[in-house]
């Protein structure tokens, strides 16, 4: 008979490698978190959307409803009213019946902002100048300007620099794509940028180099669809938009998506300038204005007195077509009908031009101008005036001369007809015969 084992010598139960409680507690905690998402996290995200607008100096009106679906990756905004405060008073800048944003959640987890779909319906905007002449959304409100004189900023220069930056970025991307895979050694990647670490004296930190191969943040809208009503432009011109539709594809900045092209097509109906269609893409831009009244271009807010003093009237179909890679290649085609000039206080030369043009009696003029140079420095390579004078203007002048000649001929023919008719008249014939009788023997 053996003595029972003492507790000290009893074999210890084998310790588990994983904590049993953790195996059900962690999923339970996860479930609780998931349940909390619509109750806590989504309302919090909605408030973050509002505060993001606040950081940009804007306000989303309280009556705007923002619904965030984290798992669906969707933000739905109804009755959107985006305002700014100028001198303490709210002013509505943009309104929309609905706005829907579908995010690519996986891409967003990687630190990018990628929206699969952006749909905006029933939009309207008011970008009229503020009381001090500045433009909303472009120039911050006075209290946020920080002493910058925005009126002195050279926007053209900024646009040029932005274009050059994008060109260089595209070149880098192309160079990366063109790199051979294995045959020859690849050129070393750009080293990350070194920055001093502000939280630690003497330390420094490395930030990834932004570019096609780096993990820099990317903002991308894969599909954009917007439609709306009126858009008030900064100045009250005939170009004020009364309805519009916008379609966009792969719009954004940051890293490229391989094998994708971008495009933006805008169709607008204007209050007094007809239909205006704009199309943009990689290395292309097209502007198409149909039945554009020349009086609209003469609006003082657009061209000052430069066009207005000629008193031009008529309709123009204008097509601006630009394509570029290294070099710019473009045409401006204009077909002007019903052109009339009524210059105010003209010089002698201007008066002569007006006289010639007005004698054309509104016949159509086809004017094609060719553009060249580089995208940064566009130039007019052929102003098309010679062709205009030879062709349309010449034809119109000839036609005017023919018409004038025809008129004179008809006048003459009419006169001749009258003479012939008189000659055929019996009374006249009798009178002629009487006269002959009277004159018989005269002079013998």
């Amino acid at each position: 008979m053996t003595a029972p084992q003492s507790p000290a010598t009893a074999p210890q139960p084998r310790t588990r490698l994983l904590r049993r409680a953790a195996l059900w507690l962690l999923p339970l905690a996860l479930l609780v978190l998931l349940a909390l998402v619509p109750l806590v996290i989504e309302p919090w995200l909605s408030s973050k959307v509002r505060s993001a607008a606040g950081l940009a100096g804007l306000e989303i009106a309280p009556e705007t409803q923002i619904a965030v679906s984290l798992f669906g990756g969707r933000i739905t905004i109804t009755k959107l009213d985006l305002r700014e405060y100028v001198e303490g008073k709210p002013r509505s800048l943009m309104q929309a019946d609905t706005a829907e944003l579908d995010a690519d959640v996986l891409a967003c987890l990687g630190g990018d902002i990628v929206l699969d779909n952006v749909v905006l319906e029933g939009a309207s905007g008011d970008f009229r100048r503020r009381g001090d002449g500045t433009i909303p959304l472009i120039t911050p409100p006075p209290e946020e300007r920080g002493g910058i004189d925005w009126s002195k900023l050279d926007w053209w220069e900024y646009a040029r620099k932005a274009y050059e930056y994008h060109q260089n970025r595209d070149k880098d991307a192309d160079a990366t794509e063109a790199q051979p895979t294995s045959a020859t050694p690849a050129t070393p990647a750009k080293p990350p940028r070194q920055r001093p670490a502000h939280d630690w004296n003497g330390a420094h930190t490395y930030e990834p180099e932004p570019g096609p191969a780096g993990p820099a943040m990317r903002v991308l809208i894969r599909r954009l669809s917007a439609s709306g009503r009126d858009i008030q432009l900064p100045d009250d011109t005939p170009f004020a938009v009364t309805s519009f539709t916008v379609k966009g594809l792969n719009l954004g900045w940051g890293r490229h998506e391989q094998g994708t092209d971008w495009g933006l097509d805008v169709q607008t109906q204007t209050r007094g300038a007809g239909t205006l269609n704009l199309g943009f893409g990689a290395g292309r831009a097209k502007v198409n204005a149909l039945a554009l009244p020349l009086q609209a271009l003469a609006h003082p807010a657009l061209a000052g007195e430069t066009i207005a003093r000629h008193g031009a009237s008529g309709l123009a179909d204008v097509v601006l077509d630009l394509r570029w890679a290294e070099r710019l290649d473009g045409t401006v085609q204009a077909k002007i009908t019903g052109l009339k000039l009524a210059p105010q206080a003209p010089s002698q030369q201007e008066a002569q031009v007006a006289q010639i043009v007005n004698r054309l009696d509104g016949k159509p003029l086809d004017w094609t101008m060719k553009l060249g140079g580089t995208p940064q420095d566009p130039q007019v390579t052929d102003n098309g005036l010679t062709a205009l004078v030879k062709d349309s203007l010449g034809d119109a002048a000839k036609q005017a001369a023919i018409d004038e000649g025809g008129k004179l001929l008809n006048e003459q023919l009419r006169k001749n007809d009258k003479v012939q008719q008189l000659q055929k008249n019996e009374e006249v014939q009798k009178a002629q015969e009487k006269a002959k009788d009277l004159l018989k023997g005269w002079g013998k």
Partner: protein, 175 residues
């Protein structure tokens, strides 16, 4: 002072608990790593530290030891700032490489200071694990049995002429 008391008490409790030495050793290693790595950086949570914390929760290590070592090593890390900086600046190439990896960049490895800290933590973690495993075994095989058998602590209390101190000491050591 109260924090120090809690740490010491937690330490002793771990030693006398029923946890296996490997559980305490693993906990010491994970706690050391957590102490030398930031859990939250300016850009958000550190993925590496969060992963270590998750491992500490899921693996059946002694959680008390994890938190004790986390606190202890955090205190120690403050004293190690200059050393961490030297180590981090010496590993400049690794910091540059870490900038190319999203997870490592978010964990602060592209920052030479935090990189130095993490390297010190990685070096100290196995050392802490080994020391704690040995201390646990030694404490349990030698010191604990002797303490329990001879009631030396109680005797010491008596020598001090104060039964309250002895009782407090017994309570403190969870005996």
């Amino acid at each position: 002072m109260y924090a120090m008391y809690k740490i010491l008490r937690g330490f002793i409790k771990a030693l006398v608990s029923a946890a296996a030495p490997w559980q305490i050793a693993a906990a010491a290693a994970l706690g050391t790593l957590l102490g030398f790595m930031p859990l939250w950086l300016s850009g958000g949570p550190s993925p590496l530290a969060c992963a270590i914390l998750l491992v500490a929760i899921v693996v059946n290590c002694h959680l008390g030891t994890v938190f004790v070592f986390w606190g202890l090593m955090k205190l120690l890390s403050f004293a190690c700032d200059p050393v961490a900086l030297l180590v981090g600046n010496g590993l400049d190439g690794l910091a540059q490489a870490a900038a190319g990896s999203g997870a490592l960049h978010a964990s602060g490895w592209a920052h030479t200071g935090w990189l130095g800290m993490a390297v010190i933590g990685l070096l100290l973690a196995p050392l802490a694990a080994f020391v704690m495993a040995r201390v646990t075994v030694l404490f349990r095989t030698r010191l604990r049995d002797r303490l329990l058998a001879n009631r030396q602590l109680a005797l010491a209390g008596k020598i001090g002429g104060n039964g309250f101190v002895a009782r407090a000491a017994l309570w403190f050591f969870d005996l």
